[in-house]
Each structure stands twice: as C-alpha cells, then as structure tokens.
Symmetry: D2
Subunit: 101 residues, 4 copies
C-alpha cells in the first residue's frame, strides 16, 4: 500500500474543497473515531460466530468503514508529521518483543 | 507498506500465544475502537491549534496508538477476508468521484 | 430522574420485542459506544466556540444521542446488577476528594 | 438521581480547578467517548456469556466508567442547556412509540 500516493490524493481532495482549516489533528482523530464506531455498529448485535459469517453486503460495508478509518488516519499522520508505516512497524516490533519471544 | 508481511507477523504472534479464539471480527473491531479512543484521549483537552503542536512524547504516543489501530484492523480484515488495500483504494476512488470532480 | 421507572419501561420494550438474547453487557456497551460516536459526530468539524452555539436542530440531535447513551447504559447496568446512581455518586465523591479539597 | 445537585457539585470541582476553559461541549463529548471506550475495554475479549459474569473487581471498574460517562454527559448537557432527564424521557417515549405498540 503506497501511503505517499494515497496521502497526495487525499490532499488533492482536501484542497479542491478548501477543507484544510477543518483538518486539525484533533478533528481528524475525532472523525476517524466516528468511522470506527460505524465499523463497530456492524457487529454490535452479532454473536462472535456470526461476526465471522458476514453477508456480502455487510462485508462491503465493513470494507468501506475500514477505508474511511485508514484515510482519516493518513490525513492525521500527515498533519502531525508521523510516518504511518514506521509507526506501524515500530508497534509490531514492540509486540514481537513482548509476546513472541 | 507490505500488508501481507505485516499480517503474517501478526498471525505468528497470535498463534504463539494461542489468541485465535479471541480474534473474532467482533472482538477485533472492539479492540481497534479502544485503541482509537486512546488516540482521541491525547487530543481531548487540547485546542485545535495545540493539536498541531504536540510534544515529542505526545507524537510518539500518537504513533503508537496509530500502530495499534492499524494492526487490529489488519487482523480483522484477515479474519473477514477483506483486502485492506483494495478497501482503502475503493473508498478513496469513491471520495474522488464525490468530492473532486 | 427515576432510574427504576426508566429501567422498567426499557425492559417492557425489550421483552415485547424479544430482544433479551441480544442484551449481553458486552453488546449493550458496544451499542452505547456507537451512540456516543453519533454524539461526537455532531462536533467533529466544529471549533470549540462553535460547539457552544449549536442550532436548534443540532441541540435536538445532541439530546437524542444523550438519551440513547443513557438508556443503553441503564440496560447494561441492569444486566450487571450495577446501581447507576450509586456508581455516579461514588465517582463524583471520588472526584471531590481528588480535585476539590 | 438528582441531576441538578450532581451538576452543581461538578461545577464546584470545575471552578475550583479553573477547568471551565477546557469544558467546551466538543471537548466534553470527546472526554465522555474516551471513558466509554474504557468501559468497552472491559468486555473486548470476553464472550457474551462471560460478560454477564464479571468479577467483583470488573464490576467495580465498570461502575467507575459508567460514573465517568454520566458525569461528563451532565457537564456537556449543562454547557449546551440540554435537560438530560427531558432528553432521556423524550427518547424513551419515542422508543415506546416505535417498538412497543
């Protein structure tokens, strides 16, 4: 997943719509959390086994919410100067140290 | 960002700790939402301008939470058979159609 | 606010619709968190000052989300045997000890 | 539950600590959402049946989070001029109309 390319395309949408003034890290984190809740909503009344057997429509919906979350996180990381891949790899390496040795 | 490689390493941690039984999509979405709130917590009492000027320590913390969120989403996508990159690209293309033409 | 009366009316709705099997504490906490995000959504692109000057429509919407959150929390507390008023008063007394003496 | 009394005590804590400048509705909604996630965290790896059989320690923890959520919502309602009891009763009456007749 080419994060630089995705971020550039997100910034093009942002700039075309004059949204930069809304894109504080605080607001982008809030927006990501709202999309996350829309993902959680898919599962709220499902049993755990049912959550493994989503319909095609639910799967498409889940994918859309995952997309929204990752896109808002990319925008937030860009504002903060965080390299998302580096952050993800650092956390994974940390988990490997703690839980897989 | 090589999502397949990251997912394989996550699964190695999971299997070494016998966590698969906990990893229903429902639970992984919940876990991702808890990490998201830990990201939001960093910003809750900051003004929008302050949220653009995090300390080095706050930035590191934010990066760790971004890492946790993406890792749980990768695990959830793997359980559901969702291709995260395809989901992100589909959502971005949709946003481009709606907001940048 | 008479919490027993509210809980009894919530249980009447639940039983009329045969929803008890869905009402595990886990699911009710998830549902409350989804409603919470709908409240947060109202504020996500507003500045802090703007958040103090909601329109009548936004205020009505906010009130509806507060209602949903409190109702799901009441249902969850009932399932867990938690007395919401006692829990709220205990936390307030704790805050008074920590922050107001 | 006497909401006016609780709100007055919350305002006394707030004023003693000079926190009013932090208490925009936007920030209070964020803070409530963070506490909500701390409630959700208790349940994230539990099965639904397990979520009905919390330990005494988990129950106390859940009660504390419920307390935090309700207290932040009370502060937010006070800032917005929303009468929480009225909002809760309006939502319950709406649910009764939709689901119990």
């Amino acid at each position: 997943m080419n994060l630089d390319e995705l971020t550039q395309r997100l910034h093009a949408i942002r700039d075309r719509n004059d949204w930069r003034r809304f894109h504080s890290p605080k607001n982008l984190a809030m927006a990501a959390s709202v999309e996350m809740a829309e993902l959680v909503e898919i599962f709220q009344w499902l049993g755990e086994d049912e959550s493994r057997r989503l319909s095609a429509e639910q799967l498409e919906h889940a994918g859309q919410e995952v997309g929204d979350i990752v896109l808002y996180l990319l925008l937030m990381c860009a504002e903060l100067g965080i390299d998302m891949e580096q952050a993800v790899r650092a956390k994974l390496a940390d988990n490997e140290r703690r839980f897989a040795t």
